[in-house]
């Protein structure tokens, strides 16, 4: 069954389990998520984490690629400003996101599906809350059909 | 007639790691009937698919005299070849072919054959070598000059050893200066130089040259000095190909489509082509 058909047969939003891609930095957010895990905190299982050395490595392409491959939401997270393991990576990343967010918004990509956050290595609780909130938000929005329709359109 | 671009499925029956980045596959068609009937001529090539990554062109490195399987050798450099580099025995890949022309070995009967190859260019020559060795009684002396950058870059090491031991073949191996190891038994020097020093007799001899464009250029010069006529020198041209059947328009050298009219040419033909390679 195609993604779309699957999504369309999902009548009630409760049974919809969103796919969320999280691009996180190795040193802060991943460590934070790790801490949440080792502390046996429970959070929603909808998130698939991709670990990168630094938020500075998160190319805008990743977001587009995630949506192309069927993500319903994307989360990007790294060290708080000033805490970057490589001193300035997250400052550069922040500038890039400021521009890219405007571009995405301008081209009509639903910005409520893209979340940005700072989560440090000690903020396991914040991570858990973040994931739960993002998952709830995106569950409420339902499946992200824009890109999926695009996929279908090109197959015609 | 079915769609040209749909490959046959083949299973990887064996993998040989030739060097750190060169691999050979022994491939068997999934289709039983095709396994029996598939035929090709030495010098032809095929397009090999790694699903999800695309197609690449390599020659058929096995000899048509060995039935039931085909063999290919490639260097892991691009998207497809790296993908193929990750496959294991038993995996499935795609193959379509054989395409292109071939070495006219039937016309070479009774003649001595001189093979010259550099680096990864031994595979196309290997097909001819085995084809000739399998019916050695039809041909004269066989001489092989093979060189690579370093000892580690020599491919088909097992077969080189085998050929070296055979009394009916003269094998000259060489590596580029600086590429030798302490226990290296062969020569040190570039292929064209070694070729010239070998003093191979041009009389009643056919030369088959394969290698990078620059090596071919100098080898043609060296063969000229040894007294070979251009008609007796055969080489292959390689260009990027996508379709393999003369449609996609990228392998042409001037007005010659390598995939359809090549890849095998005599030195005479090469010298009259548009300088586009």
């Amino acid at each position: 069954m195609s993604e779309e058909a699957k999504a369309e047969t999902t009548d009630s939003k409760e049974s919809f389990e969103p796919k969320i891609m999280a691009f996180v930095c190795n040193w802060c957010t991943y460590a934070g998520a790790d801490l949440a895990g080792t502390s046996r905190m429970e959070y929603r299982p909808n998130v698939r984490i991709i670990k990168l050395p630094c938020t500075g490595r998160i190319d805008p392409l990743f977001i587009i690629k995630a949506f192309e491959n069927g993500a319903d939401g994307v989360l990007i997270s790294g060290c708080h400003p000033g805490d970057c393991h490589y001193t300035t990576g997250n400052y550069h990343a922040r500038r890039r996101w400021i521009a890219f967010k405007d571009l995405l918004d301008f081209t009509g990509i639903d910005m409520s599906r893209v979340h940005f956050s700072w989560v440090s290595a000690s903020e396991a609780i914040k991570w858990v809350e973040l994931i739960n909130n993002v998952t709830d938000d995106i569950s409420a929005l339902g499946p992200f059909m824009d890109f999926k329709r695009l996929n279908k359109k090109e197959a015609e | 007639m079915s769609n040209l671009y749909i490959p046959h499925l083949v299973t990887i029956e064996d993998i040989y790691e030739e060097t750190s980045d060169i691999r050979s596959f022994k491939l068997v068609f999934k289709d039983k009937e095709l396994r029996e009937t598939f035929e090709f001529k030495t010098g032809q090539f095929g397009l090999y698919s790694a699903f999800g990554l695309g197609e690449s062109t390599f020659c058929l490195a096995s000899s048509p005299t060995r039935k039931g399987y085909i063999q290919c050798t490639f260097r892991k450099t691009g998207r497809v070849t790296n993908g193929l580099g990750e496959l294991s025995i038993g995996d499935t890949m795609g193959f379509r072919g054989p395409y292109g022309n071939h070495f006219p070995i039937e016309e070479w009967k009774g003649k001595n054959i001189l093979f010259i190859a550099g680096g990864i260019a031994l595979p196309p020559v290997r097909s001819v070598i085995w084809n000739i060795l399998d019916r050695h009684e039809d041909f004269g002396n066989v001489t092989i000059v093979y060189g690579a950058k370093t000892v580690a870059d020599l491919v088909y090491k097992e077969e080189l050893r085998h050929w070296d031991e055979r009394p009916d073949i003269k094998l000259i191996q060489t590596v580029d200066p600086g590429g030798e190891t302490d226990d290296w038994q062969g020569k040190v020097g570039f292929v064209p130089t070694v070729l010239e020093e070998s003093k191979v007799k041009a009389e009643n001899t056919i030369a088959v040259v394969c290698g990078p464009p620059i090596m071919i250029k100098f080898c043609l010069g060296a063969l000229g000095k040894l007294g070979f006529s251009d008609d007796a020198v055969f080489t292959t041209l390689e260009n990027k190909m996508k379709c393999g059947v003369g449609k996609c328009g990228r392998c042409n050298v001037g007005d010659i489509y390598i995939c359809k009219e090549g890849p095998v040419y005599t030195a005479t033909q090469i010298k009259t082509m548009f300088a586009d390679f």
Binding site: K65, R94, L103, T107, N151 | R79
Partner: protein
Amino acid sequence: MGKMEKELREKAKELLESGEVAVVIGYGFNRRKTRVTPVFITDPAETDKLVFNALCVNNLSIYLTRKYKDVQRIGRPAIVAKGCDIKNIVVLITEGQVKREDVYIIGMTCEGVAYKQELLKEKLVPEIMPVKCHNCDVRNPHVTDTVIGEKSDFTPPEEPTGMVFDKIKQIESMTATERWDFWNEHFTRCIKCYACRQLCSLCYCEQCITEKNMPQWIETSAHPRGNLAWNLIRAMHLAGRCTFCGECERGCPVNIPLNLVNQKLVLTVKNAFDFESGYDENVHPPMIVFKEDDKESFIK
């Protein structure tokens, strides 16, 4: 314009004769003298081919980039450049692609050019001028070795005006779905000829991201998905660098309004980082620097 052309030809001749430059990159007429095309003058006797008029729409700074190895091989170039073209040369200098001393800039004062050559019938009228010309603050070129032409006394409006700005406002007032539909309608037409990239002097990468195939980040097929990815990333790679010269839109054979995305990012960069591209070769472009207190409101 007659006087300017005369001055230009004399200057070009002088530069070539003295050996100061090996080639003058300028504009010349086609056979029928109906259209203007880039010319490369190496012989002082041929400088009469140079023209300058409202048909001179091309941004010749593309020929200074490393994509044009056979142009570079000729030797030191002099380039005929309008103020807007000089902005691109400035960015090339900032980004280390061209050394200031390696290029002789013949700045042309300019009263505007046509949006596309086909539009010019007899006289240049404001209606056929691109938005950049209406808001131009470099009609007197800013970074030059010599200036040709009389000083222009045009002052651009305080607030930039024109169709592009109006349209951006209109798009911003749409809903996300409307915007998505608007852009997909345009991007779907894309034929992936890459004229936008090839005409952009700031797209000088020898291997474009779309040609990188391990992995294949941007699908090369011209289907809606591949087109969207390509157009978004092309715009993003020009964020903080684009000088709004408008060449990509002019060259687009299927009329995708690329100026809208480009200008949107120009505005974003101006508002967020107080930076305008193409004025000062000694200021770093905004995407390679940062401030610790860059303002944003969306990172939670």
